[in-house]
């Protein structure tokens, strides 16, 4: 498809387990973003990738969270030793370029539930 895709759409895990969430950005988009949407916190920025530059990790809530982007395309967000407060919808977005008001196109999200 032409849009941002994310997998899985839903993930239920037990506290303490590790999870990996995947994002496929729109082809040709150089910038990729991860956000988290939760009831208590609204929409929060997590991490941002632009081309081959070092990612902006300023939004990651703890060192249990990490992300990588391979080959400038697909990205994986990893949460280690999940906690119940990690339950949220994780949204990925991509844009043609970074900054300057570029429109970010969002995927449908992955709903993570930590039991």
């Amino acid at each position: 498809g032409a849009g941002v895709s994310q997998s899985p759409s839903n993930k239920v895990t037990e506290k303490g387990k590790d999870v990996e969430l995947r994002c496929d950005p729109i082809s040709g988009h150089t910038a990729l973003y991860w956000y988290r949407q939760s009831l208590g916190q609204g929409l929060e920025f997590l991490i941002y990738f632009q081309g081959n530059s070092a990612p902006d990790k300023s939004g990651l809530p703890s060192d249990r969270f990490s992300a990588e982007r391979t080959g400038g395309s697909v990205s994986t967000l990893t949460i280690q030793r999940t906690q119940q407060e990690d339950s949220a919808v994780y949204l990925c977005a991509s844009s043609l370029e970074s900054g300057r008001g570029s429109t970010q196109y969002f995927g449908p999200g992955t709903r993570l539930t930590v039991l």
Partner: protein
């Protein structure tokens, strides 16, 4: 630092009535402003954005917003709403950095 305030968490409005969803922001630098909509069980979709130029911005589905620098506001308006406009609306700013700062959202419910 940037912040976005959406004062109304819920806005009920009758079908075909006008609606205004309020958004105020704070930033020490110039900003770009966005409104996104999230329909039930769907992802975020861009409604409109302000980058520069005319302060009145028109978007999809008949929505428009006006950038007011002196009041640091970017309110969203529609002259006549439809049932299909029922959704959650998010105001966001981009200032300097590349990521978006979102407001907490306004749930618009259109009543038949």
């Amino acid at each position: 630092a940037q912040s976005v305030t959406q004062l109304d968490s819920q806005v009920p409005v009758f079908e075909e009535a006008p609606v205004e969803l309020r958004c105020n922001y704070s930033s020490s630098v110039s900003v770009y402003l966005f409104w996104y909509v999230q329909y039930p069980n769907q992802g975020l979709q861009l409604l409109l954005k302000y980058l520069s130029g005319s302060t009145l911005v028109k978007g999809i589905n008949g929505f428009e917003a006006e950038f007011n620098k002196s009041q640091t506001s970017f309110h969203l308006r529609k002259p006549s709403v439809h049932i299909s406009d029922t959704a959650e609306y998010f105001c966001a700013v981009m200032a300097g950095a590349n990521n978006l700062f979102f407001g907490t959202g306004t749930r618009l419910t259109v009543i038949p």
